[in-house]
Symmetry: C2
Subunit: 641 residues, 2 copies
């Protein structure tokens, strides 16, 4: 008991530490307007946030880098489809029927809760707070419930809520039975009220429905990838986790279409030597931790299903770490069989560790042919690829010819379902039926859609293997989908880039975001050391040169001490600060090392461009210019605000 | 009659010419996937379009340039707010009550039409087709109806529909009376069904509600501008005009906040000398045409209300013409008094002429303090600015003190309206009332909200001028709003950049988009002249160098003739084409002049970058490299597709 109490208290300390960090980060983010709760003057709306000026700049830098790293480097076909989506599309994709969470209502006030959240909170509280008193078999039960929570049916969740006596958190009122709530924002297209539509829950469907045109655009060749960046929507029942679970967010999605019989990737060699944290199914099921593995090995040993999937995992790793995500808090976790859709061949999530735990930020899934097939069926437009043979091939093909007359007489209105069941037979089943019909004259045949077996007689269907010449292979491509939650990546980036350092003058902590220049919202600030006209003139001249070079910057001409001004720009993660202290040369200060160099006014813009474009590092330019003796520095006391 | 028939037929020819151009442009755009009707495999949804790969690239280039030209150059505060908006915000802005179009329904089928469209079509048809037979007074009436159409009430439109016997266009069934239909897509936020929300009809409101934070972020200083790029939605009754009137579109909006007493602009001098087509109110009302004017003069003469408005008009002119909009088909049209909201100080539209006529693409409005006041009132949060005086000022201030007791006795429930009417009085009115009350003891006072006059007695209100010391001025800033319809600008750009040139080999016309490199979807193509390995190796090497330089490009290795391949990339507006015809140097061809130069392989990427970044023109590089004799050219016959 003493040991368990000790574990408990060190776990509690870790939780408290994480929450303190989160509080410091979120305070800085909100105070410096990286984020603003949307419609704040009207008391806001849960799950909706604005990006203020620095947040918006970080976001557009992240998206620009995404375009460079994926769309441009891989020659992807980028598209831009509307958010408003007619019902038929989302019916085909399965979202109308299945994009739901289970909800319970406070029976008196009508307040809604997610059923799984309440059960999860209950189990976690028991495990954390009552740990010392909990009999081991009870603890094991709660652990088990947490593990299988996502798989529980409405009835099973309802039973758990009753069994544990869970009530509404705010009022302690009894709760309704759980029932599914569709998470799409619904609307109506046009004035008639007869065309239901939804705000898209993902951008992928816009790509799938355009497959035919995009395949043609690509010269009718596979593989190719299409990409889309845009808003997506999810009408959460009760948003939690601040900036991580929101009702509107930016997705960046790639749909890479590939021949299911050849998922090799010509550029896999470029990433095969990357080594990083992976958390395969095997390790999860045996209670082990994530392990460092070489990507090439993970693919050759079959841990990762195929080269194309592996290639994208590698590219995602490079993308995230180049943005500034800490590689030790990034892992690729494979989905367990129960997490994965039945059609998926394999699926890995890039998870980033932050104060909320390990957060899924990118999903990389081999969705096989599911989506294209679903839209082919619903729309009647074949979404397929063709492989022309150099010369025709002779193939044996199963031909099933139903006799509509006989079937009609026997099954009347059910005839259609029987014919569809014939068509759905696998080759082996069909051949078995052929043998049975030939030997016995009739056979029992189960028709799923009728939910019963019917008797098929010999005259109702003819089954044969015929030789045919084929000129091409027609097939539905597989799709490998890397899908990026941009807002989540940005939030984790904020936590990973944040640190505090002491101010010498006072006991306060100074906040710093160590953004790489690539994502920094502003690349450089310009400070005249003191408020005199000749320094202002120089500052404006430098500003003009920076604008011409396309470098975002701000001039801070407030009379505040230089130390205070440095602290201000450190807090929004500006990599370089230029202090104008003479009319011929100025100092440039590096945010993280606080080192300073002295550079001629004419050269300033090009030095800043070099470093913020990533052509040179700070260390590179440090060698080329004289170091500036620390005379106007961070060490000065902060005076007024 | 003969003359009028002649005018009619030349007008008809012009219409036919415009429609032929549009058909050619739209065919090219759809065939090359600049646009795709959204959800095409499900037969589409009127008013929704996708940008396919080249369209999407043009759009992101336009937006990147917008950010550079406005946000970066002017140091604007960019924000990014959600599309989902709670009702209270759009109630305050007036959209819930007034963002409507008048609709009529086919009384039998229920099909909906815009009432003004039906009347407009009727009048136009009469004026165009029946011109020869139309008595002059009838013609004048139809002209008049067209001019005032936007101002007609539902009842007046209903009367016109009855008078003209207008029926449903498709069925000739009778129509319902016109009634307002709100154009916002409605939805519901959260699971309760009790929080109505809308998809935003503009991005501006997200900025207004954040004014307080943004003002603080800007160091509590005016003027400053905030900007936002994002999706906006408009649930059109029956979308027409193809790509110009759609149900979802991208807006880029700027809200420039300024002291209403000082609308000068420090950088106005930079644009004062620009000279371009303006169409002031005066010219429109006297039946004249748009005239070329200097911007500086238009502001100094008061044609344009103030410098800040003028500055943005100039910046918009530069933006559009640098994108490739033809300056002779661009005009700035001032709103007529009846078009402008009552609170607006002045308003100009950048209109671009295309095959649909003159299209409003950017609105530049001085909206005075309307929006901030509306949100202050509704939210109770003061959205104001402060000007601190260097030393306190003594001011005379009107003080109106209503006597609630006397007013309550006299007006009971109407008391509130009377007090509000007191508060709304201008200084002169209040002083007149003071004089009247002192001399006559009572006065008749019109109360708008009661829609009648009431008698005010001396004991009901005290009015006086009092001296006060003021330390600061508190005021609601004015806002000057340039609002860009990005999709409309892009469509007009497509028409302005499109031309056809003859193919020598055949009688067909070749389509070309003369996009400036800035907006071209792909900057360069690489063609190996013939399919041999050593040329492929060179092509790949060049491709790698282009990727490193961040230049979007495609390699076309199909065996098609070089002429055909040039034609293909001309059709999507690629400025430069590289043909690999040796292993040491290659040719670079300019799209519009078809001139070719020969450049060493090592230098190719940097030459392409120079031209497509805009550092050099084609003419500049032409001088530096040997001209390539036309051996593999456009002149070759096009062979297969």
């Amino acid at each position: 008991a003493a040991l368990s109490r000790q574990i408990q208290s060190s776990a509690a300390a870790a939780v408290a530490g994480r929450e303190a960090l989160r509080q410091a980060v979120v305070n800085t983010l909100e105070r410096r307007l990286f984020y603003i709760p949307s419609f704040k003057i009207y008391r806001g709306v849960a799950g909706l946030f604005d990006y203020g000026p620095p947040g918006c700049a970080v976001k557009s830098n992240v998206l620009a880098f995404w375009r460079q790293h994926f769309v441009l480097e891989e020659g992807m076909l980028e598209v831009d489809c509307p958010c408003v989506t007619p019902e038929v599309v989302l019916k085909a994709s399965g979202h109308v029927d299945k994009f739901t969470d289970l909800m319970v209502k406070d029976e008196k006030t009508g307040t809604c809760y997610r059923a799984d959240h309440l059960i999860k909170d209950f189990c976690k509280e028991k495990l954390e707070k009552d740990a010392a008193l909990l009999p081991p078999e009870k603890a094991a039960e709660f652990q088990h419930v947490l593990a299988v929570l996502d798989d529980l049916s409405p009835e099973e969740m309802g039973a758990k809520i009753k069994e544990y006596g869970i009530t509404a958190p705010d009022t302690k009122n009894p709760l309704s039975d759980p029932y599914p709530f569709n998470l799409m924002f619904q609307t109506s297209i046009g004035p008639s009220g007869l065309s239901p539509g939804y705000m898209r829950p993902e951008t992928a469907q816009g790509i799938f429905v355009n497959f035919k045109d995009l395949y043609y655009y690509n010269g009718n060749k596979l593989p190719f990838a299409a990409a889309q960046i845009g808003q997506a929507f999810r009408n959460e029942i009760s948003p939690r986790q601040g900036l991580l679970r929101v009702r509107e967010f930016t997705l960046a999605e790639i749909e890479h279409f590939v021949d299911p019989e050849d998922k090799s990737h010509p550029k896999f060699g470029d990433v095969a030597d990357l080594e990083f944290l992976m958390f395969p199914r095997e390790e999860q099921l045996t209670g082990k931790s994530a392990v460092k593995k070489k990507l090439g090995e993970a693919v050759s040993k079959g841990t990762i299903n195929n080269e194309t999937l592996g290639y994208f995992i590698g590219r995602v790793y490079l993308f995230l770490t180049q943005l500034g995500i800490d590689k030790d808090r990034l892992r690729f976790r494979q989905h367990l069989p129960n997490e994965m859709a039945h059609y998926a061949a394999d699926c890995w999530d890039a998870e980033i560790e932050c104060s909320y735990g390990w957060i899924e930020c990118v999903g990389i899934a081999d969705r096989s042919a599911y989506d294209l097939r679903a839209h082919s069926e619903k729309s009647g437009v074949p979404l397929v690829a063709h492989e022309k043979f150099p010369e025709p091939r002779e193939v044996e093909k199963l031909v099933i010819t139903p006799s509509k007359k006989e079937l009609g007489l026997a099954f009347k209105g059910n005839q259609k379902m029987v014919i569809e069941a014939f068509e759905a037979m696998k080759e082996t089943e069909a051949l078995e039926m052929k043998v049975a019909l030939e030997s016995k004259g009739e056979v029992e045949f189960h028709v799923c859609t009728l939910n019963k077996s019917v008797t098929i007689k010999k005259n109702m269907v003819s089954i044969s293997m015929e030789k045919k010449k084929e000129h091409q292979r027609v097939f539905t491509p597989s799709v490998i989908e890397p899908s990026f939650g941009i807002g989540r990546i940005i939030y984790c980036l904020f936590e990973h880039c944040f640190y505090q350092r002491p101010s010498k003058a006072e006991d306060e902590q100074l906040n710093v975001f160590r953004f790489p220049p690539l994502v920094a919202p502003i690349k450089c600030t310009v400070f005249p050391l003191v408020k005199i006209e000749k320094f202002d003139v120089v500052a404006k001249k430098i500003s003009k040169a920076l604008t011409t070079a396309g470098i975002s910057h701000i001039i801070d001409i407030t009379g505040t001490s230089i130390g205070k001004r440095y602290a201000r720009t450190d807090e929004i993660g500006v990599p370089l600060a230029i202090t104008v202290d003479s009319t011929t040369s100025v100092t440039i200060r590096d945010r993280d090392s606080k080192e300073q160099i002295r550079v001629d006014i004419e050269e300033v813009a090009s030095v800043v461009k070099e470093v913020t474009d990533g052509q040179s590092t700070w260390a590179d330019v440090m060698w080329r210019y004289p170091t500036h003796a620390v005379s106007h520095t961070d060490e000065e006391p902060a005076d007024e605000e």
